[in-house]
Symmetry: none
Subunit: 204 residues, 4 copies
């Protein structure tokens, strides 16, 4: 029993090390340029061990994507008493961008998009998580605000996409084409402008 536990612990550590090294490598090189041998070396594991854990390069990549997608986060704790509507919109925007940039969702999305012809299912799943699921959690916040009379009654599904669309247009889209993209210094100001527009349309 203790032996099994030990083995599992060691194995889990290696698995994690592999996933970490793989993420790094995929981010640096993209899918096709990434090399299994190099990933193994960087994870301090033999290639055979790597293949014990993940059947193929594609399986490994899928696992990396899945793992990263889990940090898509929920926005449920964002509504705090005393917050103005603008406060909340601001917090939502920042939370959105944090996930996108700090969790490297951006870079991973690039790679997934690259693999659309080769691994369509993976891309569909990632879109489901990174777009649809995310929108759902955002929409829940919108609905809550409507219910509390902070926003006027409207189709929250649409307003959510409008907000997400604008954030992407301003910050995600350019990042997709630039590996070194950093959020611009006037990010906060831009977010305020977005809030203006949003409130003009949907303010109570």
């Amino acid at each position: 029993m203790s032996l099994d536990t030990h083995r599992r612990n060691v194995s889990d550590k290696k698995r994690t090390a592999i996933l970490k090294a793989a993420l790094d490598n995929f981010l640096r090189n993209g899918f096709s340029r990434a090399g299994m041998a190099e990933i193994a070396r960087e994870a301090d594991v033999s290639t055979a061990t790597l293949y014990k854990h993940f059947d193929s390069k594609e399986t490994l990549f899928a696992a990396v994507v899945k793992r990263a997608s889990q940090s898509v986060g929920d926005y449920s704790g964002i509504l705090e008493p005393g917050d103005t509507v603008r406060d909340i919109l601001r917090k939502l925007s920042k939370a959105y961008l944090t996930v996108q940039f700090d969790h490297k969702a951006n870079a991973l999305m690039r790679i997934v998009i690259a693999e659309v012809p080769g691994a369509p299912k993976l891309a569909t799943e990632m879109y489901e998580v990174l777009a649809n699921r995310r929108n759902d959690t955002l929409m829940a916040v919108m609905d809550a605000m409507i219910e509390r009379g902070m926003l006027k009654p409207h189709d929250a599904a649409f307003s959510t996409r409008l907000g997400a669309g604008m954030l992407k247009e301003l910050f995600v889209w350019p990042a997709l084409f630039d590996a070194d993209y950093k959020l611009p210094p006037d990010t906060d100001k831009k977010i305020e402008v977005l809030a203006d527009v949003f409130l003009e349309l949907y303010g109570a």
Copy 2:
């Protein structure tokens, strides 16, 4: 002289054939899966000739992208007498989507995005053309509409991005993750809703 002309014509024809075959192949396979030999064969040219025209696979890809980007189109002819504001917004939206889908800009963007780590400059240039330049031409139309009193005075640069952002959110973004994406049947209705929002914000 006539011989030279002839030679140049033949050469140009081959160059065009190569570019066409390469576009096809890149779209089908993505960058790394595409093969120079196959492209040469499909262009009815020897590999050596292919390399006479394009130094490397990357050079060829850059040329393909550049060529495709030229069809980004301008929207200058869109303003017609008798058009309502809504008519024009509708036409702009459709023109935008036509470029995006009929000219396979979508698929090409996927490939360029894939190559961001390997060919950053190319991606930046494409973004410049496909996003900035396009926005500029759209913005010119907006400005014209403001001038004519069809829209209330406002920051056209921002409203343009808002419009483009929404179009991307609804139609481009999902297409990025799905090689077989087709414009949905209710595309027209969605465009009308976008126009509603736009007019609510910027209508004269």
Copy 3:
């Protein structure tokens, strides 16, 4: 002591299980395609245990071959009172083919032959058992028949090889090149013809 006995029994069971699984696997896949891990799994043993019993893949194979060779059988009980010469020849032939096909000697021979360049000694030994020793036992029967006046005096060593050669030509040789070979429906008739020839040459 009893503990030791128990241990030995368990160990022997595992050994037998391994040999059985290995035979199966070798027959299915041939030597080089067979996998030690798979054999271990099929024998319900860990790879380490497998290696405790057999030093290497080749050792294991040798053991498998040796074990299978023991069923080469002897033909001593074949002479029964009241049998005609033809009866005995018929029984000898059938016994020969039974060993060859039912005991999978055919398939094993294929594998051993395959390994001649890699394991020459093994092949030589198998030939010794499967050909020479077998011929010896057959020859003993021939000699007995000569002694009893059932066959005319002659060189039994040669006549044995003649008989064995014909059986191989007709039934073994084609089976060597066809994994799915089955004894043909007219096997019995062919055996009678062989007996005819044999009696014409060596009948009393």
Copy 4:
């Protein structure tokens, strides 16, 4: 035209060199131990060139086998005026053994047999050529001898197999299990004995 001719010549030379090197290597190592890289090196060719000529290791092996099978030879020129029956039987036997040993048919057969589970079709074809076709040509000689009254009328198909079976039993079978097998010093004497038996059965 001359260019094409030249290219074809060079290409043919390389192809031949590859086949030669491959034959050598397969004979030395068997199929699975043979290495494409080593074959390429021994043929003084790059691996890529090797693969230009032969799609895969199996294709290459099939080509090697096919090439070797062509030297199975025909026995039509064997009947010469003035020859006794015994002369002819002797010549047939020797021709048979020459093909078997000098043309390395023996060694190749070993490898083909080894690959029966992996490449059944190849083995079947080789059996067709090396056994059936060969027997047919031998049988034609038998029939001719019967027609000329040199042998008494009989089923030549059967007598051919009897002869071939005996030759295999004495000389081919042991060679199958011994890579270094050489024809024994008393080969000639054994052939005479076979002729004795044959004549006893089928002599005019």
